[in-house]
Symmetry: C2
Subunit: 657 residues, 2 copies
C-alpha cells in the first residue's frame, strides 16, 4: 500500500513556507534521493510512506534551509582584520591592499572551506557568492555539500585573478561552462558594481548572463554617495542606469539596494530582479537601512544576506533575519512592519525567488530539492511555548532562536550536520591554515604601517615629486613699504591671489617619517568673500638644506595628492601621534623680475600668532637654475625692502614645534 | 614568598576594562573569597600567588561579567505571547490584561528562576530588574547566585501586587529594609514612568531612594509620544519634568532615553544619572534609536539592557552589545561611532557606572568583586585571529562572538557555570511549570478572543449601555419642504449642529458578535469649515426590534467608548473579517415638540450614494416612555411632511450589507 522512500522526517513542526504558509504539527516529510516527495500531517505521511530511515524530530521545527543571498565567503580569512573604520579607510586602506597581496586560489579555497562549515552549523543550505577565483568557491561548496550560486567578479580594474576586464569576462564564461547543470553549483557572473564597471562591461556581462541563462550578481545603490555620483555622472540614479545597460534583463540579484526611490522599486519588481538585503553590513559600514518593507509591499523579491565576514563579521543568518525584522520596525516607526513570518520567508522562499531558484528550493513541497534544517525550539531561552497564534512559531524563530539552536542540516537529500555534528572532518587543519594566513597578513600590515609613505601610496592617488625649491623668507615689520615696492617699475605683477590657508601638520613618533600636511585653501575674491576651496595632501620628507647666498635651497621628497578624502579620513587612517594647526592669510603674487618668474607670498600667520613674513619662492629642477634663481630672488627681496638680517630659515610648522 | 589566594585564573587574555583598558595576554587573575586580589601578566601573577585552584583558561578571553542594566526578568513567562503588534495593541490588548490575571509571587519566582539560568548561560552576572513582587526576584537571584538590582514597581494604578500607590511605596520600603546590605542583592524603588505616576508619587519615591541611598529605576523618554505628551501636560520634555520632581537627585537609572535633546543629555550627565539602552526592544516596538553616541560623548553613563523578554524576546546581552554598536553607526552615518571597545565598556564598566555600582563591579581590578566570565574566541565562526590592533579583540567579541561562546561564569567568587554547565539543577521542572503557565494563558486569551465584547472590555474605557431607542426613518425627496416645516411654530429648535460623519463598521464571522462601529465626527461651523473632530467606538449588539405604530423601537446592547486609539489600532486588535465604510452629511436638530425633546437627523449618505433620509430619534429607558415617544415622533414626522409609506426600518449599514 505505502510507497517506499529513502527517509521520512517524523514528529516535526513542519513549516513548509509554501504559498499559504502551511504548517503541519505534528508533521512529516518524505524524501527520496535529492527530492522532497511529500509533506503533510505526521499520521498521513507515516501511513503513506515506508522508509529505511525514520528521523524522529522530537517536535523540533523543520523548515527549508536558510538561503544567504549575498556573501563573499572567502573573506572569512579577513574577518576582524580592521573594524570600526570609515568605509573608505576600511576598503581603500586595508581590504584592497591586503586583497591585492594575498588573494590566491589557495586563499579562496581555504576561506570558503571555513565559511561552509560556519554556514552549515548555522542552518544555511544555499549561498550566493561574489569574489575572485570563484572556481575554488564552487569546489569548496561542492566538497561541503552546500548549494551555491558562484559569481565570478568582473570589474574595470585589475583584480587578483584577472589583469583586465576581458580576462575576467573570459574566466566567468569558463566558470559557467564548467559548472552549468551541476546539481549543487549554479555558476554566475558578478559585475562588482556600476561604479567599478563601465557601460561596455555592464552590457557584456548582461549579454553573457542572458546567453547562458545564469544569474547575474551585482552590488547596487549601497551608499548615498554612489547614488549621488550616479546622478552626477549619468543624470539618473543607479537602477535606471543599470537598466539602460541591459543589466535587469538578466536573472539579476542586486545586493544592498539601500538607497532606492519608489520608481526604482517598481523597476526592480517589473524585471523580477532579486534584492539581497544585508542589514548588519549596511549598519556596520553606516551605509543606511534598506527600505525592505516598502520593497516587499511593491512585490520585489527580497532575500537576506550576511555580506562578507569582513563587514559583518560572521555568516549567521539568524542574526540577519532578526535584524531585518527589527530594523524594518525601528526605521519606519511601525512595529507591524516585516512581521516574523515575512522575515523567515525572506530567508527561505523569498530568498529562493531573489536567487531565481524558487523552482528548486525555498519551501518544503513535493518536487523540490531536499534542503531542510531542524531547529530546536525547546531551549530554555525559547521557553515557554504559546500556541494561540499560528504565527507565534515564526516569532520564536526570529526573536528568540539562535543559530546554535540548529541541530540538523540536509542539502539535496544529504546530511551535512546531524545532532550538531558537522560531517566535514578537517576543521582543525583549516583553522591552523587560517591562523597562518592571519599571521602573514598581520606582518604585511605591520610592515606597511611603519611607513607613512607606503600607507599613502596604498590608498592611491599620490604621486611622488622629488623637488628642489628656492626659498627666501624674512620677517616683515613694514607692510606698507612692501606694497609700495610692488608698484615699482622693475617688478611686473603677472597675477595676484588672496587666500586663507588652513594647514594641519600630522607628525609621527619616528622623525624620518616626515610630516603629512593637509591643507585647505580658501580663495578670497575682491570682496574678501570665499570664492572656492581646495584641499591638498603633502607628505613632506625630512629636509635637506644647502645654503645659497642669502637664501636656502631645499630639497626634499614630497608625495603630493589632491586630498579627495577629509582631514578626518587621514587622521583616522594615518593615526598621527601629533598634530599642529596653522592658519594664515596669504597674498600671493606671481611676478616677473629681471626676466625670471618668481612667487612672492605675504603671509600673516594668524594661528598661532607668529607675525607677518615675506617669502620669495621658486620651484626648480636643476642645481644651476637654482643658483641663478637664488640670486634673482635675493635681489627681489632687496627690492622689496627686505633686510637679510631678518632672514628666517625655518618652515612655519618648525617655528612652533 | 608568594601570597595564598583561593583561585587563580591563568593563561587568559584578560580584558580588565579598567580606566586604561589594560589587557594582559597571557594574563592571570587571583581571587580570594568574593574579591579580586590582583590581575596582571600571567608569569607575574603565578609567581606572586599560590592557590589550591588553578584555572587554565586556554587563551580564552577573561572579562568582567556582563551587566544587564534593564530588564523585567519574570516576563520570560510572557516571551512570545504576542509579537509584531503595535505598542498599544501589544501592551493594552495583551500584556496588561494577562498580567492583571496571572502575575503572582509564584509567577514572578518561576519567571525569574528561568531568566537567571538564561542570563548565566549568556554571560550576564548582574541585572537590574523592575517588576511586581520584587522580593521574589531577589530570592531567585540570590538562589541562582546572580547579582541584582531589584526594583519594586510603583505607579498610580492598581498593580498585581498593590492596590494603590501607597501600598506599592510601603512594599518598596519593606523590600529595601529587608535586602539592604546583602552581598548580591541591591534593593531599589522603581516608579514605572512619569506618565504612569504623578508629581506626588515621583517626589515620594525620590525621597525614599535618597533616604535609604538605594538606586531608583524608571522608564524615561521611551517614545516620541511620551515626550509630546509631557510637553503638552507639563510644558517641558521628560527629563526637566522628572528633575523638577527631584527624581534625578537619587541614584537614578533611566531606561530607554530614546528621545532626548542636548540639554536633557547634559542634565543627565550633571546628575550622574545612569542610562539603560535597550536597542532590540526599542526597535521591536518601533520606539526609535537612542542617541547613545551623543550621550557617551557628553559623558552620560550609558549601560546596555535587554528589556523584558516579552519585547526582545530574550536576555542575550551579546545581541544587545552588537546591536548597540551597529545601530549607533547606521543611525548616525558614522561607522566609527561606538567602536567595539566602547560597546564592551557599556556592557561592563559603563554598565556598573549606570547602576551606581562601579565601586563594586564592572572591571577586573584588585578590590572589586569577582564577577567574571570566560569567552571562547577560538571557535570557527571567530577565526582567524589578527593581532596587529589591540582593539581587535573587542571587535571579535562584539561582531563575531555569540552568547553560546561563554563557557564559564563566576559571580562574587562563586562558580555559576563551568565548561558550559550551569550548576542549577532544576531546569526541567522549571520548563514544565512554564509550559503549564503558557497553557493557562493561552486558554485565557483564546476564551477572551472569542468575544468582541470581552476584548473591548479588556482594553478598558468601554462602558456597557443597555439602551432602548425610538427611531423613525423615512426617505426624503423634498428637502425644502422639511426646512420650511422646521420654521413652523409648533416645533421649537433648541440646538442645531452640522457635521460630517465617517463610520467604519467592522464585522465578524460569527453574527452574534454584532458590529463594531468606529465613528469620526467632524463638526462644521457656519462657514462649513471643520471646527472639531471626535472619535467614538460603539459595539452594536444584535438588534431586537419591536414595531410601534409607524416607528420601530430598537433595543440592543451597546458598549460605547471614546475611541482613544486609531481606527488602525482597532482593526489590528479586533481583526474583523469584514469592513464597511459609510460617509454622511448630517444636520442635527434638538427640538421640543408637544412638550417632548426629540432629535431630528437629516442625513445625506454620500458614500455609498444611498440618498437622503430623515430620522427622528430618542433614547429611552422604559417601555412606557418609549411608546409615548413613538407616538410623538410619529406626529413630528408627519409635521415635517413625511409619508409613512417611505418608512425605512434598516440601519444604513444594513442597507448596503
Amino acid at each position: 500500500m505505502s510507497e517506499t522512500v529513502d527517509l521520512v522526517f517524523t514528529n516535526a513542526h513542519v513549516l513548509t513556507m509554501d504559498e499559504n504558509f502551511t504548517q503541519y504539527d505534528p508533521g512529516a516529510v518524505a524524501v527520496r534521493g535529492d527530492e522532497i516527495i511529500a509533506a503533510g500531517p505526521d499520521a498521513e505521511i507515516q501511513q503513506n510512506f515506508d522508509a529505511p530511515q525514520l528521523v524522529d524530530c522530537q517536535g523540533k521545527a523543520l523548515l527549508p534551509g536558510l538561503i544567504n543571498t549575498h556573501t563573499h565567503a572567502p573573506m572569512t580569512l579577513l574577518r576582524g582584520i580592521a573594524d570600526d573604520l570609515r568605509l573608505d579607510v576600511w576598503l581603500l586602506g586595508y581590504l584592497m591592499p591586503v586583497e591585492r597581496e594575498f588573494v590566491s586560489p589557495e586563499f579562496v579555497r581555504l576561506g570558503t572551506d571555513l565559511a561552509c562549515i560556519e554556514m552549515i552549523r548555522s542552518g544555511t543550505t544555499c549561498f550566493a557568492d561574489m569574489y575572485y577565483f570563484e572556481d575554488e568557491v564552487a569546489k569548496a561548496a561542492e566538497y561541503a555539500g552546500l548549494r551555491a550560486v558562484v559569481g565570478q567578479t568582473v570589474l574595470r580594474f585589475p583584480a587578483p585573478d584577472a589583469g583586465s576586464f576581458e580576462e575576467a569576462l573570459a574566466s566567468a564564461e569558463q566558470l559557467i561552462k564548467k559548472w552549468k547543470g551541476h546539481p549543487l553549483i549554479i555558476p554566475s557572473v558578478a559585475p562588482h558594481a556600476p561604479y567599478t564597471c563601465t557601460d561596455t562591461i555592464l552590457r557584456a556581462v548582461a549579454d553573457l548572463a542572458i546567453k547562458y541563462d545564469v544569474p547575474l550578481q551585482i552590488h547596487l545603490a549601497e551608499t548615498e554617495f554612489e547614488v549621488n555620483a550616479s546622478r552626477d555622472e549619468h543624470n539618473m540614479p543607479v537602477i535606471p542606469y543599470v537598466k539602460k545597460q541591459g543589466v535587469l534583463d538578466a536573472k539579476t540579484i542586486a545586493a544592498h539596494c539601500v538607497h532606492l526611490d519608489d520608481g526604482e522599486m517598481n523597476t526592480l519588481e517589473h524585471h523580477g530582479t532579486g534584492v539581497a538585503h544585508n542589514p548588519s553590513s549596511n549598519l556596520k559600514l553606516a551605509s543606511g537601512i534598506a527600505p525592505i518593507a516598502k520593497m516587499h509591499e511593491v512585490g520585489v523579491h527580497v532575500g537576506i544576506g550576511t555580506d562578507g565576514p569582513a563587514s559583518n563579521n560572521d555568516l549567521d543568518m539568524f542574526e540577519e533575519i532578526r535584524l531585518a525584522a527589527l530594523l524594518a520596525k525601528g526605521s519606519s516607526g511601525d512595529p507591524t512592519a516585516i512581521p516574523a513570518r515575512t522575515a523567515i520567508a525572506m530567508a527561505t522562499c523569498g530568498g529562493a525567488k531573489a536567487l531565481h531558484l524558487d523552482h528548486l528550493i525555498g519551501s518544503i513541497e513535493a518536487g523540490k530539492r531536499a534542503d531542510m534544517i531542524l531547529v530546536d525550539l525547546g531551549c530554555l531561552h525559547n521557553a515557554p511555548r504559546f500556541r494561540r497564534d499560528d504565527d507565534a512559531i515564526y516569532a520564536r524563530l526570529v526573536y528568540a532562536s539562535k543559530s546554535t539552536d540548529v541541530t540538523d542540516v540536509m542539502v539535496n537529500g544529504n546530511w551535512l550536520m546531524q545532532d550538531r555534528v558537522v560531517h566535514l572532518k578537517n576543521e582543525t587543519e583549516l583553522l591552523q591554515s587560517a591562523d597562518e594566513f592571519a599571521r602573514r597578513i598581520d606582518s604585511f600590515l605591520i610592515e606597511r604601517e611603519r611607513s607613512v609613505a607606503s600607507k599613502l601610496v596604498a590608498i592611491g592617488g599620490a604621486a611622488e615629486q622629488e623637488s628642489f625649491e628656492v626659498q627666501a623668507k624674512i620677517r616683515v615689520t613694514n607692510i606698507d613699504q612692501l606694497h609700495e615696492a610692488l608698484k615699482g617699475s622693475d617688478i611686473e605683477v603677472l597675477h595676484h591671489r588672496h587666500y586663507h590657508e588652513y594647514d594641519t601638520y600630522f607628525s609621527f613618533d619616528e622623525l624620518d617619517q616626515g610630516w603629512l600636511r593637509y591643507r585647505e585653501d580658501e580663495y578670497l575674491d575682491e570682496t574678501e568673500a570665499v570664492n572656492s576651496v581646495r584641499a591638498r595632501l603633502t607628505l613632506i620628507g625630512p629636509v635637506q638644506e644647502s645654503e645659497l647666498p642669502s637664501q636656502v635651497l631645499l630639497s626634499r621628497s614630497r608625495y603630493m595628492a589632491p586630498a579627495s578624502h577629509s582631514r578626518r579620513f587621514y587622521r583616522e587612517y594615518f593615526k598621527p601621534t601629533g598634530e599642529l594647526e596653522i592658519v594664515k592669510d596669504r597674498q600671493r603674487w606671481r611676478v616677473l623680475f629681471r626676466g625670471t618668474e618668481l612667487y612672492i607670498n605675504l603671509d600673516t600667520i594668524e594661528k598661532p600668532d607668529l607675525g607677518t613674513f615675506l617669502e620669495v619662492k621658486s620651484r626648480t629642477w636643476s642645481r644651476v637654475d637654482a643658483e641663478h634663481k637664488a640670486t634673482v630672488a635675493s635681489a627681489l627681496l632687496g627690492a622689496l625692502g627686505g633686510n637679510p638680517d631678518d632672514t628666517v630659515t625655518l618652515d612655519y610648522f618648525q617655528m612652533i614645534n
